[in-house]
Symmetry: C2
Subunit: 422 residues, 2 copies
């Protein structure tokens, strides 16, 4: 028995360069994500494990969504090129790094680089594997619902920060996938006051409003919609809670101000798309360990830090995916330096991640599972998951809590008349 | 005397990496521009010359407006970083190279990178010197004319190829500089049929139409305008002949088809902005030598190859500017490896280029001199320069051929009525 364990253990030193920001205002700052990467490293190293012969030399470099990561990569690589790159997350920075890494035959795994443009792996992004569901994957739940409920028109309403541009790229993914529908877009910049008059001038011929913005702006818009009688079933409102991070709005209407009651009623028309959350015992332990690490680090400039967001989970699983694949590839005689081969072998594969099964599509992008949350008790203002979408086979599953009334458009014509009387 | 010449001669080896495309469909292909760079190199080397101690090791690398140049720079620089980079010309590729070069303290001189975004030299483009007038510089002749003739409104009409995007970036420069005017834009893509109906629906409240596109499309639009009676002084039309390259339209209406007569009449309302052309004996010789080199190279896939366009002239002068500056800097004790200092010393300086005086502004961008050409003999359909604009001091000089009638808007109201009757 000992012998077979031994022969199964492949030893290799692996240089990993991780590009994450030091600045803790990012959901994917080094302080938040590093513990997850180290957790995965420890797990792989455990005695007698199949991957215990891998020795990861992990180097964290600052990448603040500008050009730092590219420079660092170019500088470092003169001495010796890394075997694996994790990150960057930010789109513009990732684009530069992935281009150069692909040119140098280095695999890149990121829980970011979620924009539609990265889907094209034929040329400059050939070595990119996306371990978190891209924005286009998230858009699938919308196309599935539009088909299921026979909706035809949508307004994509978002806040554009002109820097990271997460909401811009998110709804770009929706726009990209919904080419066959009648789609309008409305953007406002982060500094601007939200001009709800102007926004609602754009909804008259629209059925569905899909929003991506900060949680407080969502509340502001829902309150305005409620006051205009747009929340009585004549419109459907959705928001996207990005990255499992509540800052983008998770259905919570309560602020302890005088508008809470009104907000609760308004949110009865608001449905939230989130990543599907799975629960398994290992995840509980992981989650606790992450919380401990964050507490130990005593981060003060960090919002919602104790929770495991998509990036924390993703970068953990990135190390697993790489180890599993490299192990297999080396058994088949490939070297870690064959970056293209390692990359391709990471694609079209399913493995057990920290929170559940992770399925990578043939294009090296993770299939996304999403949940739809709706208010199921209007008196209490409580939310439940009412449907799930499974990306791997495109199925849309209605749960017992699902109430079809809440997804049926009503009084369309009446609403229009009321509006034009104003 | 010998001694003073000797002491004035500074010897140094200079590694130059030139990024230009091999593909001759580009106006700035290696085959077209390299002879100019080598001409400058020869001139600097001439016996007893002040710069004869400089030995330029010039390496040409292919850069096809994608990511090649960045990769090449990153690869090469591991062994040894070049002392000077010439090019790239294309905006997107130049952005990547200039960022990395600035990070590595290497001066970059380009006759391209003309877009407005490169004007910000504070951070990522700190080491870029632009030896040809940028699009924003070109826009100055328009703001000057708008002020002089008290025009208020313009339509920016352009063809967007979605690749090099020269016309997009050109009119972006105009848009950028004309923030105080009432500006509309209209773009069509290169593959599309020109929908003149749709275009002219956008001109009713406009005084001036500024166009950037291929010469044949300009003719098509001018013919359509003429047939709609928009060429009788109720509108002013301008086009931009980019890069001293006739492919962007130089006022020539003749095609030898049945529309020539109509086109000649239409072009009476068309004025062309071009780079100011200066003539000096040295330029004649340079021009002849360039022609000979091109003939010798037997290029078959090359349009308008015999002429010296802006890029050919610019990259010639780039070598001169660098040599003059390095010589001065080394006399003052600086090394060629002090890329930031060499760069700064290239700025805010005037020197004698191959076609005339070249004046660099304090921001390292060349001041632009432009000419305005108009048809002065409608019978013959011949064009003349009617005004010049000098960027260094912002003066607008009317020449004897200038006819103020051609720049006075007439029958505005009448035209509007006619239009709305349709």
């Amino acid at each position: 028995v000992l012998k077979s364990v031994m022969s199964n253990t492949i030893t290799e030193d692996i240089d990993v360069l991780v590009f994450l920001p030091k600045n803790n205002s990012y959901l994917f700052s080094t302080a938040r994500v590093a513990p997850a990467i180290l957790y995965a490293q420890q797990w792989l190293k455990r005695d007698g494990g199949k991957y215990s012969g891998f020795s990861f030399n992990i180097q964290f470099e600052n990448s603040d969504c500008v050009s730092d990561a590219l420079f660092m990569l170019a500088d470092k690589s003169c001495a010796q090129k890394p075997d694996l790159i994790l990150g960057p997350v930010c789109e513009y920075e990732a684009a530069a790094v992935v281009r150069l890494a692909s040119h140098w035959n280095i695999p890149v795994i990121s829980a970011g680089a979620l924009a539609a443009g990265f889907s094209n792996k034929n040329t400059e992004f050939s070595h990119l594997t996306r371990i978190a569901p891209s924005y286009v994957k998230m858009a699938e739940i919308f196309t599935t619902m539009f088909e299921h409920f026979t909706w035809k028109t949508a307004l994509l309403l978002y806040e554009d920060d002109k820097e990271e541009r997460n909401c811009y790229f998110t709804l770009e993914g929706v726009y990209h996938l919904m080419a066959d529908y009648n789609i309008k877009t409305y953007a406002f910049s982060q500094e601007d006051r939200v001009d709800t008059d102007d926004i609602f001038q754009n909804v008259y011929d629209i059925e569905v409003v899909i929003m991506c913005m900060g949680a407080d702006k969502i509340r502001e818009i829902m309150l305005a919609a409620h006051r205009r009688h747009l929340t009585s079933g004549n419109y459907l409102f959705f928001n996207v809670e990005l990255f499992n991070a509540s800052s983008y709005g998770n259905g919570s209407w309560k602020r302890g101000d005088k508008y809470d009651n009104e907000a609760r009623q308004a949110y009865a028309s608001l449905n939230t798309v989130t990543l599907l959350r799975t629960v398994k015992p290992e995840f509980e332990n992981f989650s606790m360990e992450m919380k401990k690490s964050i507490e130990k680090a005593e981060l003060h400039d960090c919002k919602d830090c104790e929770s495991v967001n998509m990036f924390v989970e993703g970068f953990h699983d990135a190390i697993l995916l790489y180890a599993i694949t490299l192990h297999e590839a080396m058994k088949n005689g490939y070297s870690k330096k064959n970056g293209m081969e390692i990359t391709l072998q990471m694609w079209n594969r399913t493995f057990e991640g920290i929170a559940g099964q992770v399925s990578m599509d043939v294009n090296g992008d993770r299939n996304g599972d999403f949940s739809l949350m709706a208010m199921t008790n209007i008196e209490a203002g409580t939310y439940e998951v009412v449907a799930n979408y499974f990306g791997v086979n495109g199925t849309f599953q209605l749960l017992p809590a699902f109430n079809s009334d809440s997804f049926t458009l009503r009084g369309r014509h009446k609403a229009h008349t009321e509006m034009s009387d104003k």
